[in-house]
């Protein structure tokens, strides 16, 4: 089975994405040209057949020592970071079977990754404006407070 998704989030800052991936305890594989998925479209879910599924420019995956490896082993699916014609990057993945960790860890719409990516973008920008930044968590939200005299 294949249940493939190209996420609506357009990534424009790879450094912020790498920071978000590290925060979430996942691994970044720079320059990896393919990501693990079922391998072919089965037609059981809507999928854009013009997309070169499985091909990418970088990969987000489980770390070798990640507890989810006990369940999925080396066959755990991965998230492809795919460069678009616009210069932005899209995230593509297969959430079926060995890809189930992606939604269980990051949320159905990769919400936790969106959250950490946004936090990384904001933190970098606040620091660039000359502020000291303190990060806290509040009711599931990330709060960044920048202070400048």
């Amino acid at each position: 089975m294949s249940h493939v998704v190209t996420d609506t989030l357009e990534i424009r800052d790879l450094a912020a994405l790498r920071a978000a991936v590290a925060r979430l305890g996942l691994a970044w594989s720079e320059g990896q040209q393919s990501y693990q998925w079922f391998g072919r479209l089965m037609g059981d879910t809507p999928a854009d057949r013009s997309i070169p599924w499985g091909r990418c420019d970088h990969v987000i995956r489980l770390r070798p020592d990640d507890p989810d490896r006990a369940t999925y082993g080396d066959g755990a699916y991965e998230i492809g970071v795919c460069r678009l014609d616009s210069g932005a990057y899209a995230l593509r993945y297969d959430y079926w079977g060995p890809g189930a960790w992606i939604r269980s860890r990051l949320g159905p719409d990769l919400g936790r990754l969106r959250q950490e990516y946004g936090a990384a973008l904001a933190e970098r920008k606040i620091r660039a404006l000359g502020y000291q930044v303190r990060r806290t968590a509040r009711n599931g939200k990330i709060v960044l407070e920048g202070v400048r005299a």
């Binding site: 936790r112 920008k125 404006l129 202070v147």
Partner: protein, 64 residues
């Protein structure tokens, strides 16, 4: 003391709040942050502090 607070929800949506700014600097800082987050400025809401400071500034300019 100038403060910027960015709150990012579990779905990635963010809100930007500023304190201690006067007038346009508040808007330019908020716009810079929104552009960094979304690629474009979002809808900004001026705090009462903005209007208070701006009103004082206008009074000073007009000699009131």
């Amino acid at each position: 003391m100038k403060r910027i607070t960015v709150t990012i929800g579990e779905d990635g949506t963010a809100t930007v709040e500023t304190r201690g700014f006067s007038g346009p600097e508040c808007e330019t800082t908020t716009r810079d942050l929104e552009t960094a987050l979304y690629g474009r400025p979002g809808k900004s809401h001026r705090t009462p502090e903005y209007f208070h400071r701006a009103t004082i500034a206008r009074k000073v300019e007009s000699g009131q």
